[in-house]
Symmetry: C2
Subunit: 378 residues, 2 copies
């Protein structure tokens, strides 16, 4: 049963994605108990909206939780990184795509689609290819050739769409229904369910006080929140951690509406940030997320590009190379003033290799082999 | 205790890397039993040459073993992919680097180094940064700026060395000893031990008939071989699988010497292949590997660039995007004529994102938003 998290209306059609009121539908809460199993799908079998077809799995999830060696100590926190860059297409999107593709096959679709230029596009292309489904990837006119390479390699059909990117999201859902293409966009209900695994895996290892979540469409945040809420409703954890949505100052429609006490987000005009992966100016889960933040007393923090790049550098000192958007959580950490010793988890959403062309070329020294001793000694 | 796998001489100095006869030293066989544990280090605790310092770990290992959905069926095989691209720096190197860095810290070194331009450079840079060690990465004059970006991001000192790249390997060991820099090169004894985890994890899931291993320096092959041999000596498996070293035709010094019945490899002049990550013309573990291949009746197969690129495409249909070198195993599969139903594991060594700039730009269609229905229908 699907339910609108904003107006509460319920729907029986599992293929439906949005409520009549315009908001994203989601599955009602699942309750259950954990089992012994090799992967998160098996261990939390009670909590998925559809039976995971493990034959389609690429081994997504069960990512490492890495303890900070330096930054945590400097800030007086017990700090952990949830390294989602170790997923099959090197971002968290794979968890949601796996369930979305499982659903598409069960519903009998022959084609799937998504509206994305980055992580989600590659993820949907990969899983569709594996499942033997056609993939239609809709990207904005300005998408760089380089980004699309990591998508077209899986054999997906890539369409550059000229026109308003925000409208494209809703058009894709409308046309998908008519043409028999199942769109697994950023807040597809099955996609959101897949992200719950991040909450489940964290809870298996520790009792966090605070989770930092880079936030664009709002889908990842909603998934992690639903995961923790289901654990609590199932009696598996005692308290919910504080969830913090982190946006880039240059594109922070959710934080702005939250701060201004508005019930609805408004389009963020002229978005500009290095954190492209969280630069959605009109996030489709924005209003649902605002409601969550207020209901649970959670936070929204906007950080500057300078802070994001500094956090990216700090993460590299811990041995973790992430795309700028993934460093936003750490950038927010310094603004939060958490109590000493707080247990904090920052979600590292995607690999730094995804944005390598934007990375600076580091300094290199030149050295003739004959002078190597001198060069190394320096 | 270290031992030369070629001449048999033994050494007590654990910091030593090569035998007086010039061949790479390795640890004697470990025996033990498996335990319950979250990661491969804990589960195979008896088998490591040094106590793993899990505080330094980035979550390397425990990578997914993915069953083929298409290619295996077409070839009449039970085919699996060991996805090493899901490691912290997106290649198998991290398993060896973790143990190497653990050893460097225990030995009291303040600096580590490596000779590499690709996966190993990024891996050593990342773990050194995490451990608070200086990293000296020696690369050839011709290394591309793009490749070095993924290394310098971790704060390593990168030195372009003008001169013979083969000699650089041995010079680095000699100078490292003198200058107090611990070089974790391709066949460092601790590095080889780290790769055993691949064998252990495969054996936990199935009893393979054949393992396909892209082979450059020979270090990965030696590690996987040692892992299976130790499992057999410990009574944990009954038979060794057939191991197949796979090289690119354009740089196949080991396969050539093997075929010609020689005891020593010879430098492969003018190497040329798309599979850069396995293009070592004078592999430092070459002779040790030749001995292994003959002792156990294993195989060496050289494949063409065309076959490698075709295999890379076939892997993308399974949802796996790898660098060309990583597709070599699958390319070799068609030449092997294995018995119907054989259980085969191909090692996918590194992520396709590492060689993205060489990937072809796929076809994209252009479409105005107003005509989207027509574009999608096509």
């Amino acid at each position: 049963m699907l339910r609108c998290p904003v107006c509460g209306r319920e729907y029986r059609d599992m293929k439906r994605m949005r409520c009549g009121c315009g908001e994203p539908l989601e599955f009602k809460l699942f309750k259950g108990e954990p089992y012994i199993g090799k992967n998160v799908w098996e261990r939390f079998w009670d909590f998925w909206p559809i039976e995971p077809d493990l034959d389609l799995s690429l081994g997504e999830g069960d990512t490492p939780l890495i303890k900070s060696r330096k930054l945590g100590r400097e800030l007086g926190l017990e700090l952990y990184f949830k390294n989602e860059t170790a997923n099959p297409t090197w971002s968290f999107k794979d968890r949601g795509t796996f369930l979305g593709i499982t659903a598409a096959l069960k519903f009998g679709y022959k084609a799937v689609g998504t509206v994305s230029t980055g992580n989600m596009a590659a993820s949907v292309a990969a899983y569709a290819s594996r499942a033997g489904l056609k993939a239609k990837i809709l990207v904005s006119e300005s998408a760089s050739d380089e980004k699309l390479k990591a998508v077209s390699v899986y054999g997906a059909s890539v369409v550059r769409v000229k026109g308003d990117y925000g409208r494209l999201y809703f058009e894709s859902l409308r046309l998908g229904e008519r043409l028999g293409i199942y769109f697994i966009n950023s807040d597809n209900p099955f996609r959101i369910e897949g992200y719950k695994g991040i909450a489940f895996e964290i809870a298996e290892e520790l009792t966090p006080d605070c989770i930092l979540i880079p936030t664009s469409s709002g889908g990842l945040f909603r998934g992690i929140a639903k995961g923790f809420i289901e654990l609590k409703e199932s009696g598996l954890i005692d308290e919910l951690p504080m969830l913090v949505a982190v946006q880039a100052e240059g594109c922070s429609p959710i934080c702005r509406a939250f701060k201004e006490g508005k019930e609805k987000i408004e389009r963020f005009e002229n978005p500009k940030t290095v954190a492209k992966a969280i630069a959605n100016p009109y996030p489709p889960s924005g209003n649902a997320l605002l409601k969550l933040l207020r209901e649970f007393g959670w936070k929204c923090v906007a950080v500057s590009d300078g802070e994001i790049l500094e956090a990216q550098r700090e993460l590299s000192e811990e041995g973790l190379f992430v795309q700028p958007a993934s460093a936003a959580g750490i950038a927010a950490l310094k603004r939060l003033e958490l109590p000493e010793g707080s247990k904090v988890v920052s979600i590292l959403t995607g690999s730094g290799l995804k944005t390598l062309s934007h990375a600076e070329t580091g300094k290199t020294a030149e050295c003739p082999l004959e002078s190597l001793e001198k060069c190394l000694g320096g």
